[in-house]
């Protein structure tokens, strides 16, 4: 750092420490939000991917069925493949810990077989080091319900010999900890919530004797994967699929890509709004020292030297602020990781991330973005300081030139037309909808430009009024400067995003409430205690389901089953329910296929001769399926042709699902287990006493009344969007702070005027009021433009983005009370920030003149 930079940059920062701290806080907050979302996201998705990959790590080839269970009896026919390497049959299930119902993945492995698999050494379940000691192995084989736990879980105090109480499927279990899975150096740490059992014990515990989920192979040294794969394909029975393990990981990543992308976009918005704040901070800082730049220029300092000085200051603040943001981001990540994990859980399946580590790459990216944001924000003021002639800089009344708001408004209007045109007009493949994001970006830009053009409208109350304070306050808005424009644009973006997301979330909520109001018609819903989210593996045995259905108060019981399946190479779900009961008592909402219950009756009447299927809207969009189309449905041992009878509105998961009538499902899959049972009670039977009786008789089942289930769905829904609300609030906070910052800049620019007004007899209160009213004029423009922008964004989110990314059709509805409350909150927050800024501005004149007077 040069002599001049030390004196000009460092001293200025120390002298204007308040402004420097605000800038550091803005950078730090932006970087922290960005980083925390990325870290929490990474932790939750890594956890999910580890579950997805499971013990697939270390294997070279994986075999599984496209639909239904893999029969263990197939294994002898695959024995010839052991010539190329070892074989590992696997079964997976879920365990819910008693009390918290925290989800664990149960993995069953053939521990005896593994013992002789690789050079006579037992291979640990994740392809890692052997489990500790032969005692553990002996216990695992001898003791039913014995499990190996991860070292991460052991660190919480669980030791061999301890017990884990909880639920597997529909029964309470007590698992005995037999040993601790060792960690292998240079390998990712094992997922905390992983329990390993011996294969037969796991099959028994899961109630799936003779079944597997997949078989994995590992190559012997010298063997070639192509040979193994070729031989495997030759021996492969129909309905089975081969895939390299990385495909599984890739599929997991692809599955969560939209979710991760959405969160990243949200965190970038906080940073983008923060960039406006930074621009204002640097603009004010540069403007305050205009005489300094002018003097330097007059003394012969080059314009590029001044550019370097200003940008150097920005880089210094960017670096310090980003480092501050790293710490804050890590702390925020710890707070948000559970919320993100919960959402991943609800949407995709198991994720149990509890903490987020500070990741080198993510940290470097966050620091880089913070630094870049500062340099970009400082560029225009720096250029102006460097390029403006010294005489002009020294001119006391030479404030910033007014904006040409007419062309800005026209440009904004054009962007507002282009945005929706992109979003609605460009066809895009399913998944991440780039065109919609681009459309939203254009709309955001258009909205912020229109906000600038709207400013003169808000000068109107000051026109022709005899209230001199109002006239003085609002008159500058007739010819707004860049500072007015930036403050209004920042607020517009923040308000627009918050409104857009708010309207979308409330449209979503209303749609879901209507959906569950129509779909959930039964009196009671019964499911295993640990069941939660689309990816749950807890199932009820046929006996338990029958016992529940046999209760004397029950009139009808609709047994629902849901299995993961692969359709056209992509993961989805296959469900089955009783179409007869649904047609008579249910209220499914059909998006296509005719009025309810026509398609359901067609399925029931078609039976096995003309089998039909309902597909969810998400499924229909992702696979491009229409009513009347015949699909080749993978079933155990091959495929069956099914006709699509209807498209079902379903907001349960984003992978989509196919629904078969239960008799057809039973005939093809032979799987009598159920995920849940909907009970319709006899007339006159009160739900609560029946629920209490069922809970008493079946302690491993959760029995919820219709009302309780609806309440739970609503709660989960709101939890899922909690993070979104937090990000919106941060964005708004940053924008309102920017407004305050903007007002101090405006006051600085008007300091000559403030001085004149004081000399003319204006009181501090008059000046404070004038500056506050000016700020409120900008707030009003930002609020009005932001609301309009938000409604357009909401339409894009509801009409294009949600159907495209998640496959969900939402019904657009404007929550007026929310918008009213939100506007009032924004105006209130603005007032709180503007008041001290205006007060500060009202004191400007005297100090300034006193300094110069001597």
């Amino acid at each position: 750092m040069t002599w001049l930079a030390r004196r000009l940059v460092l001293r200025a920062l120390l002298r204007e420490w308040g402004r420097a701290l605000l800038t550091l806080a803005a950078v730090g907050l932006g970087v922290a939000v960005f980083l925390s979302i990325r870290l929490a996201n990474r932790a939750a998705v890594a956890s999910f991917e580890q579950f997805t990959q499971g013990v697939g790590q270390g294997s070279d080839l994986v075999m599984r069925t496209e639909a239904g269970p893999l029969r263990e009896s197939l294994l002898p026919s695959l024995r010839p493949l052991t010539e190329w390497g070892w074989m590992r049959p696997i079964i997976e299930g879920s365990f819910a810990r008693a009390g918290t119902l925290e989800p664990f993945q149960v993995t069953g492995l053939d521990l005896v077989g593994l013992g002789s698999a690789r050079d006579g050494q037992m291979d640990a379940p994740t392809g890692q080091a052997p489990a500790s000691g032969t005692t553990a192995l002996y216990t695992m084989i001898q003791v039913p319900d014995a499990v190996l736990i991860t070292s991460a879980l052991a660190e919480e105090g669980l030791r061999p010999g301890d017990f884990l109480d909880g639920f597997i499927q529909d029964r309470p279990v007590r698992l005995r900890v037999a040993g601790i899975l060792p960690e292998r150096p240079n390998q990712p740490r094992l997922q905390r919530n992983l329990l390993v059992m011996d294969l037969p014990a796991a099959q028994k515990a899961l109630g799936r004797e003779g079944e597997l989920d997949r078989v994995e192979w590992g190559l012997r040294p010298g063997a070639r994967l192509v040979d193994l794969e070729a031989e495997a394909r030759r021996l492969l029975p129909p309905g089975l699929a081969l895939e390299p393990p990385e495909q599984r990981a890739e599929s997991g990543r692809a599955m969560t890509a939209a979710f991760r992308f959405n969160l990243t976009i949200l965190s970038l918005i906080a940073l983008a709004v923060g960039a406006y704040l930074l621009f204002q901070a640097f603009d004010a800082s540069v403007n305050r020292r205009r005489e300094t730049w002018a003097t330097l220029r007059a003394l012969g300092h080059s314009p590029s030297g001044i550019l370097r000085l200003v940008l150097g200051e920005a880089a210094l603040l960017g670096l310090l602020g980003s480092l501050l943001g790293l710490g804050l981001g890590w702390l925020l990540a710890q707070a948000s990781v559970r919320a993100v994990s919960q959402t991943v859980n609800a949407l995709y399946g198991a994720s149990a991330a509890r903490s987020a580590a500070l990741h080198g790459g993510e940290s470097a990216l966050a620091v880089g973005i913070g630094l870049l944001a500062c340099l970009v924000a400082a560029w225009i003021p720096a250029r102006r300081a460097a390029a403006t002639p010294p005489v002009q800089l020294l001119a006391r009344d030479g404030g910033p030139a007014p904006l040409r708001w007419g062309p800005l408004g026209l440009g904004g209007g054009l962007c507002l037309l282009l945005g929706p045109a992109f979003a609605y007009g460009v066809p895009a493949p399913p998944g991440v909808a780039w065109h919609a994001y681009l459309g939203a970006a254009f709309t955001l830009l258009g909205g912020s430009l229109v906000a600038v053009a709207l400013l003169p409208l808000f000068a109107w109350p000051g026109q022709g009024t005899r209230r001199w304070r109002l006239r003085l306050a609002l008159r500058p808005l007739r010819r707004p400067t860049g500072r007015h424009g930036f403050a209004a644009a920042a607020l517009t973006v923040a308000v627009g995003m918050a409104t857009g997301m708010g309207v979308m979330v409330r449209s979503f909520e209303r749609t879901v409430l209507v959906w569950i109001g129509s779909s959930l018609r039964a009196d009671l819903y019964v499911a295993p205690l640990g069941a939660a989210g689309a990816g749950t593996q807890h199932r009820m045995s046929a006996e338990t389901a029958n016992a529940v259905a046999a209760d004397s108060a029950v009139d009808a019981a609709d047994r629902f089953q849901m299995l993961p399946m692969v359709f056209r190479g992509r993961p989805t779900f296959l469900g089955s329910g009783d179409m007869g009961i649904q047609a008579a008592r249910g209220g499914l909402i059909l998006a296509a296929g005719g009025p309810f219950p026509g398609p359901l009756l067609a399925m029931r009447n078609g039976g096995l001769h003309d089998p039909g299927v309902l597909v969810s809207e998400t499924f229909a969009r992702h696979f491009g399926v229409k009513v009347g189309e015949i699909l080749d449905l993978p079933v155990p041992g091959g495929t069956r042709a099914v006709t699509v009878r209807g498209v079902l509105a379903d907001y349960g998961n984003e992978r989509g699902s196919l629904i078969l009538d239960r008799p057809v499902f039973l005939a093809w899959f032979g799987d009598e287990r159920v995920a849940s049972v909907a009970l319709y009670l006899r007339p006159g039977q009160a739900a609560e006493p029946v629920a209490a009786r069922l809970r008493r008789d079946h302690p491993a089942l959760q029995v919820r009344s219709n009302h309780a289930l609806r309440a739970q769905v609503t709660t989960i829904f709101r939890q899922t969007f909690a993070l979104t609300y937090a990000l919106e609030a941060i964005g708004l906070l940053v924008a309102v702070l920017g407004l305050g910052q903007g007002l101090t800049g405006l006051a600085l620019a008007r300091r000559g005027e403030i001085w004149s007004l004081r000399a003319l007899g204006a009181t501090r209160w008059d000046l404070t009021l004038i500056l506050m009213l000016e700020g409120l004029g900008v707030t009003a423009a930002g609020l009005v433009a932001g609301m309009g922008l938000g409604l357009i964004l909401a339409r894009i989110l509801v009409d294009v983005l949600n159907p495209q990314v998640f496959g969900w059709t939402l019904h657009f509805s404007i929550p007026w009370p929310f918008l009213g409350l939100f506007s009032a909150a924004t105006a209130g927050a603005s007032l709180l920030v503007l008041a001290p800024a205006a007060r500060w501005g009202s004191r400007l004149g005297a100090d300034r003149e006193a300094e110069e007077g001597a």
């Binding site: 006239r471 004149s756 007004l757 003319l760 501090r764 005297a846 003149e849 001597a854």
Partner: protein, 222 residues
């Protein structure tokens, strides 16, 4: 009786005294020029006289009322009704037109609309800018801006007009026009004038000339 009095006024910035032991009596309708080299404290003294800054010693009395003890609100009221100020750099409000700048003090005083309009018309004609009444400050020349500033300072009929280098930023012709205006209008309104200037010729419009050096008034100056 003196309308404005300074008694033993002193001002310091940090430990340095920039003004010491200043005494001044300004009679109603009297015009006084304050001459001195740059940095001698003329503007600081003017700011003290206008109640824009507070002395560290001594007293300033406007119509016998001490300014140094007045509350900020009272000071603002006095500036609004009894004092007028003209700056070297005009300091017109850039977002108000010429006539709006001129009427601003009257609106601050809460004059009735009819009276404001009459006074505005009178003053804008008096400073010869009737044809430029609707112009923005940025559209006015330096001389025109200072004429508006003079009219604005005199709009409410102050007892004392404080002018800080009113011609310092103007060419000779414009400067002379502004000086003639100042002399004529203060004469007509009976306002006292204290004018800080470098220019001996500008000082000729005044009844009395005071000279300052190193923060002190030179004795015997007139």
């Amino acid at each position: 009786m003196a309308v404005l009095q300074a008694k033993g006024v002193g001002k310091r910035f940090e430990s340095r005294w920039v003004l010491r032991a200043l005494d001044l009596d300004l009679e109603a309708g009297e015009r006084v020029a304050l001459l001195g080299p740059s940095g001698c404290g003329k503007t600081t003294f003017l700011n003290l006289l206008g109640g824009l800054d507070r002395p560290d010693e001594g007293a300033i009395l406007l119509d016998g009322e001490p300014l140094h003890g007045a509350s900020p609100a009272r000071l603002a009221e006095l500036r609004r009704s009894r004092l007028g100020t003209i700056f070297q750099f005009f300091h017109l409000i850039p977002t108000l037109t010429a006539e709006e700048n001129l009427e601003l003090p009257l609106r601050m005083l809460g004059w009735p609309e009819r009276r404001i309009l009459d006074r505005r018309r009178e003053l804008i004609e008096a400073v010869g800018l009737g044809h430029r009444a609707g112009a923005w400050p940025s559209e006015l020349s330096g001389g025109e801006m200072q004429r508006v500033a003079v009219a604005r300072a005199l709009a409410a009929g102050p007892a004392v007009l404080l002018a800080d280098e009113p011609t310092g930023n103007l060419d000779r012709a414009s400067g002379q026009a502004v000086l003639d205006l100042l002399a004529g209008l203060t004469e007509r309104q009976g306002s006292a004038l204290i004018m800080v200037t470098h220019s001996e010729s500008a000082a000729r419009i005044c009844h009395r000339i005071l000279r300052m050096e190193d923060g002190r008034l030179l004795t015997g100056a007139s």
